[in-house]
Subunit: 507 residues, 2 copies
């Protein structure tokens, strides 16, 4: 663990030096829909702050430890709106000690925000980018979609651009602007229009599907999304698959661009955008510190007695793309085929409720719970319950669970990265085996150490579970060591390092 800390320190030193070189007097602006702090009104009407949730915030917060920046985010709830309206210039200092940066809220009219977030970004873009539409039947792109685009998605993106421009007004040098994720495909266009010398980067955290699937969107929407991204100097994606898909998207839908597949660049209106892959990662040293905390160790103490001989663990948001039901079916098949495993193997499912107001997500939760009940009824005996489920948002408990897996099952239908596949090997203490879907972005880096499964393949997943549970200890160790070292070499600091590295001016 000390070597890990040394590695991380070395990474950090490199990153800080690089940031100073790249910024060189430029202001750094970071923009994402969800910000690093959320303000909520409690029952007494008092405003309370808490750290923002979600992967984007977790990944980006460390930047503030290294460089000065302003973070621009949507005022999402009533608390954010209230705070933003009273703050001077809608700008405030983060109340958290490790967040040494300013936050500026973009306050959109509620109706516009609703259209932007709850109609256009989720579900339309989210479902599209995860191949999740049942295409013959949905979506119906109708007048309300057009309206959600124009007076929601376009309007809020424009408001982000205006907030960014307002932040840097009068600065001697144009800024470095980092835009994050599918909520903000368009903002870069207006920023580029006003600041031709700005350094703009956009990073897409979710998959970029094939052009054939993007045809579900009307042509003018696809084209504006493409042109918005091409206003960046660098368009970043999780994997080279996504990079290729984006280049192919440009080739298919933007006839006026010039694409160099070899160099992975797109020239549009005289401007060249580099298209790059930056697989997001975890903060390995910090994860290990958290693991040693008494709160996590209390959970370990609570969970340990529930273990039997071997533990299969999964940790997921309750999200249809995470493929939780097929994973359960594979486990059921395993128990059916191998009665000798009964009482010896237990499945721990740490599931985080998600988008609970959307019917599709409610139905998916019901289907999961029903499947678990059926399996527990069919195979349970006395005090042995084959599946233990925790349906709650409790990250520390899930980390505790990951510390003792023999098998970690991560089998999404498709996923930008699947960070849990990187967290697991870092925190696990048993040289457990990772079963990973080929359709997870993490598979590109981890395929040498994991057992690979095709996401729809219940038969193959059952075989992988059996192989993992019966794997000799030396092979487990060899694989686990490999996974750990890949994650530690390419940790979250290096994710940032590679991005800043590509923002350096050409020599």
């Amino acid at each position: 663990m000390s070597s890990n800390q040394e590695l991380q320190d070395a990474h950090r030193t490199r990153l800080i030096a690089l940031c100073q070189e790249v910024l060189a007097g430029r202001k750094l602006i970071l923009a994402s829909n969800r910000g690093p702090v959320e303000y909520q009104l409690d029952e007494a009407g008092q405003i309370r702050s808490q750290r923002g949730g979600g992967g984007v915030v977790t990944a980006l917060t460390p930047i503030g430890q290294h460089v000065k920046l302003t973070w621009i985010a949507s005022a999402m709830g009533e608390g954010d709106r209230r705070v933003a309206q009273t703050a001077e210039g809608r700008r405030l200092r983060s109340p958290f000690p490790n967040q040494s940066f300013d936050i500026r809220f973009v306050v959109s009219p509620k109706d516009a925000y609703h259209k932007y977030y709850y109609v256009f970004s989720n579900p339309l873009l989210w479902f599209l980018q995860h191949y999740m539409w049942n295409c013959p039947h949905a979506p119906d792109v109708d007048q309300s979609t057009y309206d959600a685009w124009e007076s929601g998605y376009v309007a809020v993106n424009r408001a982000f651009a205006e907030a960014i421009l307002d932040e840097v007004r009068g600065d001697p040098l144009e800024p470095v602007v980092m835009l994050h994720d599918y909520h903000l495909y368009l903002a870069g266009g207006w920023v580029r229009g006003a600041l031709p010398q700005a350094i703009i980067q956009h990073f897409t955290h979710i998959p970029w599907p094939a052009p054939g699937y993007w045809r579900l969107l009307p042509a003018f929407m696809r084209e504006e999304i493409g042109r918005g991204l091409l206003a960046s100097d660098v368009a970043g994606f999780q994997t080279w698959r996504d990079v290729h898909s984006f280049l192919h998207f440009c080739q298919t839908f933007l006839p006026e661009v010039e694409i160099d597949f070899g160099a992975s660049t797109v020239r549009y209106c005289g401007h060249v955008t580099r298209v790059r892959a930056y697989p997001i990662s975890v903060d390995a040293a910090n994860l290990l510190r958290t693991m040693r905390s008494s709160r996590v160790q209390d959970y370990v103490a609570k969970l340990q007695p529930l273990r039997t001989e071997q533990a299969i663990v999964r940790v997921d948001r309750v999200e249809p793309s995470r493929n939780i039901v097929r994973g359960l079916k594979a486990y059921s098949l395993l128990l059916q085929r191998h009665p000798d495993l009964h009482r010896r193997v237990k499945f721990f499912a740490f599931l985080v409720p998600s988008r609970t107001r959307i019917r599709e997500y409610q139905r998916y939760t019901d289907e999961i719970m029903r499947t678990i009940d059926l399996i527990n009824e069919r195979f349970g005996q006395g005090d042995w319950k084959p599946i233990i489920v925790f349906l709650e948002n409790n990250y520390l408990q899930a980390l505790a669970g990951m510390s003792f897996y023999d098998v970690l099952l991560v089998n999404p239908v498709i996923d930008g990265m699947s960070l849990v596949a990187k967290e697991g090997p870092v925190v696990n203490t048993r040289d457990g085996v990772l079963i990973l879907s080929e359709a997870a972005g993490a598979h590109d880096q981890l395929s040498g150490g994991c057992l690979s499964v095709s996401p729809a393949d219940i038969e193959g997943t059952e075989q992988a579970l059996y192989q993992a549970l019966t794997m000799p200890l030396e092979e487990r160790k060899r694989r686990a060591d490999l996974l750990r070292s890949v994650v530690e070499e390419e940790d979250i600091t290096m994710w940032l390092y590679h991005q800043f590295s590509d923002l350096r001016p050409a020599p």
Copy 2:
């Protein structure tokens, strides 16, 4: 029309000369699951023959007019089996005057055929290649899928290969083998193994989706499909989109191959496969002859009185990928927005029942009929019924309907080609407007003349309908002329010509 006939004659002359050059003493073997003749048992137990249905047979039958060939096909029903078992060498002469070739049936055990056709090819491959799976929930690839692959798909493909090898046993020269469609991805591998000098071509009639979507299949199945196709000298697809997808598929899943994206070739085990697009087409001159027949003219006479001022027409199999419901919704929106069109515009839907034993198709039929009833109830007045539907397999009646469209709506979610978009402009007599989905293969050739729509875009489709119905006559004529000439230049004979052309030995 005479100029069309001259053009077609010229095409045919070129094709015949080319075939002689390419074949040069080699036998020509054509293989497709469905053959050019189907034998059925009538109620009295007598065997009756009829022409095989489906697009593949229609497209390939004309080859027999030009060159000698043997056509290998599955014995699909009891009649085929009976005939095959009594025929010497399972080979027989086509009973139809324009089919001057031998037919040889591959007779598979019923159980194997069921697994190959009804479990693996349809629905699994068909749904996959049309992006039609609701991925978070289906398909479940389980033991029955593995079994359908091994003892169905692999077994029948192997039987096709054996039949081909048997046909050419002892011949001095190795044959030219043309394999058709998604039922026969693997057969080429065994043929190549036995006949290294054979000229093998495979043509895929349906779309080739992105690698990301192919991940729904287990790795070993995807890889065998890829390697099967790479046994060909030429792998043909409908469009360059499909070609690109296939190259990307090879790059993603077959690490041992070398891909040249510029030359569109794949090298595997020392053998080079050229990957090419051959957009399938129609026999324009023959279509016009059919239109002049008394049977079609009788239908025209029957349908004409049902027309009002303007007619919107669609012709489709009842197939979820054809997007029939969204087309109806767009029409409903048109009537809602433009009361002045009531009584003046009528929608003719010629729908052919399809796969009526599959629940998904039954449900889709119900949804279509329910939607039509709702629209007719809502907007109908007295003797004006906004939608007339013909739910029957009656090609000549549909041709008659196409002769008088003002607007032809072809809006599939995705489709290999959409031949109806090529038939319409040839047989239409009113310079009608074609509204065509960007996701139809035909869009690549016809985009200059059609109005383009994104398939999920009901709002945009309504706008296109209105634009088409109100288009000035000169523009209609200009577009219709363009469409007609594109189809006549690249008719079915040229489709064959381009394929044979690429089979010529390298100079």
